[in-house]
């Protein structure tokens, strides 16, 4: 039987087990929306802005490991989605974005709602397609899902002209996809693995440094086995938190610009650095010339282009983290060699000395609510069990520092692109994927307003998020940099007018609570969580000029942290 292009799209989504599509209709996708109307297998979630659709799909993907799917119309639909696509691209999140396009005969004529979506998105996608023939729809979808989810994952855009969605053809979904131009390396090179193991077992001051790749590659279990077998210290990037439990004594917490003192000092002084699924981002390395001066560096990554991009490494291993960690673990089991116990013991003694600095201490007796205090209480009240999304800024760093993540895919934030407005829609995606879990969005009064319209989506689909708004009246991180580096000239980082968030939440049909005293923090959190079926917006009025410490200033090395 012949199907229309629009019907074929639905069939492709079903074939890929897609449960939810986040989208917003418009002229160029009307045929597709009509096809959605006629079926119940794939659920469409109507957002309030296309940016929200991409972030929601992103949150869905990060919390499940499955690709998020977005459907938007041509022109402004596509351009509004770009921020979310770029966000997913920077953090290597698998995502399929279907953008409608004007009918083929009109392409290039500056038609109504026409933009060159393939051209606009090209630098921020893993790959993109313009479908010119209805016969190509099934193949392109198969390729898109294959490309988005394998190797180093990433977003893929499929641009489809309106007339193609109306044309008809026979539907058959390809069973497998082999592309001559694309076959990611899976297993690590045995020779390099052997060299790595040799360095790992000879180390006197080893350090394991892992990133988002371990989470994306589902390598958490293998990482735990590897790290515990060796007994070495481990630090995780902002994107990697949860792959190894924060509560484990081997964990030194996060590293980098706002990482812990012990993590950064251990990085700086280590003699063997084992980097797994991390990409030596500038927020992690600080000044490259001062980075890990004494270390032999082993780097495991699925993307060859990540290796030796910023930091020259000694043992490059291209492969999937699970595969390579399995190879590591096997090698460790099949050797008589063991780590250098006395050296490692000495190393831990040094690390524990750094640890005793207690770099995350803050004024717990404050009469004004400290943002750190809210995060600590939030951790306590939830037993660390929530899925936490965040926006971007100080609150993001506080969440990463004070909410210890013991499991992967529980911490969802925009690390690479740093997209304000990410938190709320990402939480929607996570909540849809995990209807029975507690999903909390840690945000600030500036970030939340960038996608606040999605509060209506939450009402429509009954998403009982808990929004933790750390309201200090400032774009906190901007203000902090202005305090440090611009002599407190707070240029445009303060919004003189804020909405009444309690009333705003209520206007959307949610529960709003304003919290102004430290003593009320814990009861408010408990009350919010007790309201199982309602979205609760907690507006915490926090101290205005709080800074995120510790901090590595720009141009400094990891051993040159500013403590409180």
């Amino acid at each position: 039987m012949e199907l229309t292009g629009a019907e074929i799209i639905i069939e492709c989504l079903k074939a890929e087990d897609v449960e939810h599509v986040f989208g917003y209709p418009g002229g160029a996708v009307l045929h597709i929306y009509d096809a959605f109307f006629k079926q119940d297998d794939v659920k469409h979630i109507l957002v309030r802005h296309e940016q929200g659709a991409t972030h929601a799909a992103d949150g869905y993907a990060r919390s499940t490991g499955k690709p998020g799917v977005v459907l938007v119309t041509s022109g402004p639909g596509a351009t509004n989605a770009v921020t979310g696509i770029a966000t997913a691209y920077m953090d290597s999140i698998p995502m399929i974005v279907i953008t409608g396009q004007v009918p083929k005969p009109l392409i290039g004529n500056d038609a109504f709602q026409e933009v060159d979506s393939v051209g606009i998105t090209r630098p921020v996608v893993k790959h993109n397609f313009l479908i010119e023939d209805v016969k190509d729809v099934a193949r392109v979808f198969k390729q898109a899902f294959f490309v988005a989810t394998t190797g180093r994952p990433g977003p893929v855009v499929i641009d489809i002209p309106k007339d193609v969605t109306a044309h008809k053809t026979e539907f058959s979904y390809p069973e497998e996809m082999i592309m001559r131009s694309y076959s990611p390396t899976v297993k690590g090179h045995p020779g390099q693995v052997k060299r790595a193991i040799d360095y790992i077992l000879s180390a006197e001051r080893p350090m394991i440094y892992t990133g988002g790749g371990v989470i994306l590659g589902n390598g958490s279990e293998q990482l735990r086995k590897f790290t515990r077998k060796l007994g070495y210290p481990i630090t995780q990037t902002l994107m990697g938190l949860g792959a190894f439990p924060a509560t484990d004594k081997q964990s030194l917490g996060m590293l980098g610009m706002h990482g812990t003192y012990e993590a950064n000092m251990s990085m700086h002084h280590c003699d063997v650095l084992i980097a797994i699924g991390a990409r030596f981002d500038d927020r992690v390395t600080g000044n490259l010339e001062k980075f890990c001066p004494d270390a032999t560096i082993i780097h495991v990554d699925v993307d060859p282009a990540s290796i030796s991009k910023n930091v020259r490494v000694d043992v490059p291993i291209v492969g999937e983290v699970v595969q390579v960690l399995n190879e590591f673990n096997e090698a460790l089991e099949n050797t008589d060699r063991v780590p250098n116990a006395s050296a490692i013991e000495k190393w831990w003694a040094q690390i524990n000395e750094w640890r005793s600095q207690d770099c995350l201490k803050y004024d717990r007796e404050s009469e004004i609510i400290k943002p750190q205090f809210v995060l600590e209480k939030m951790y306590e009240v939830t037993n660390g069990g929530a899925i936490v999304t965040s926006d971007v800024g100080q609150h993001q760093m506080f969440a990463a520092q004070y909410y210890g993540f013991d499991e992967p895919r529980r911490w969802i934030n925009s690390g690479g692109l740093g997209t304000m407005g990410f938190g709320l829609p990402a939480a929607m995606g996570a909540q849809l994927a995990h209807p029975d879990d507690l999903v909390m969005c840690v945000t600030g009064e500036s970030s939340i307003q960038m996608c606040i319209q999605e509060l209506a989506t939450c009402t429509q689909y009954g998403l009982p998020l808990k929004i933790i708004n750390l309201n200090n009246g400032y774009m906190g991180m901007v203000r902090q940099w202005q305090e440090f580096f611009y002599d407190k000239r707070y240029s445009n980082s303060h919004m003189d007018v804020q909405p009444d968030f309690k009333m705003l939440a209520e206007a959307y049909g949610h529960v709003g609570i304003k919290v102004e005293k430290p003593v009320d923090v814990e009861p408010a959190l408990r009350e919010a969580i007790a309201q199982k079926d309602r979205l609760v917006f907690l507006d915490f009025i926090t101290s205005q000029e709080e800074n995120v410490y510790p901090m590595i200033p720009a141009g400094a090395g990891l051993n040159e942290m500013i403590l409180v």
Partner: protein, 166 residues
């Protein structure tokens, strides 16, 4: 900063060229010249790209090119013995003494005059970049109306081959 000639086999699809060009501009790599045309297999295009950079940058360029989904294979010709050729078409003023002078230079450089009018010659010359530059230098006293260069083409010497299957 070394000059490198990178040969790229890529899917002959619309947009493939802009992916390569976009990569170079987005990552601030430089392109000296770029040529592209379909190969004997019409589903594949072959691109010859001349760039320069430190070893680290060239390594990144190779890796980033390989990462593009449309790129099937790449080869850095400058790693090994190779042949470089470029085609140049030049239209010069050919009146008075210049008419004979240009003809002599064309013979010396083994170029060819491929179009003649009462006042102009159009000359075709192939060779490596240095030869073409030398020819231009030799023409310095002649009025040049137009110069078209193809950009560099390259191929490995011996049995080294860039093909989708090998």
């Amino acid at each position: 900063m070394m000059r490198h000639i990178i040969s790229i086999l890529l899917e002959n699809e619309s947009g493939a060229l802009s992916r390569v060009a976009g990569l170079f501009s987005a990552r601030a790599y430089n392109i000296e010249s770029l040529t592209v045309a379909p190969t004997d297999d019409p589903t594949l295009s072959r691109m010859t790209l001349v760039t320069s950079g430190t070893d680290d940058i060239i390594e990144q360029i190779s890796k980033q090119l390989n990462k593009l989904i449309d790129v099937v294979k790449i080869l850095d010709l400058t790693e090994d013995a190779h042949i470089e050729r470029e085609l140049m078409l030049i239209k010069v003023q050919a009146t008075g003494n210049a008419r004979d002078e240009v003809k002599r230079l064309v013979e010396i450089f083994r170029a060819r005059i491929i179009d003649v009018t009462d006042t102009t010659y159009t000359i075709e010359i192939t060779g490596n970049g240095a030869k073409l530059d030398a020819f231009m230098e030799a023409l310095s006293s002649i009025t040049i109306h137009e110069v078209v260069r193809s950009g560099l083409l390259g191929i490995s010497r011996g049995d080294r081959v860039l093909a989708s299957q090998n």
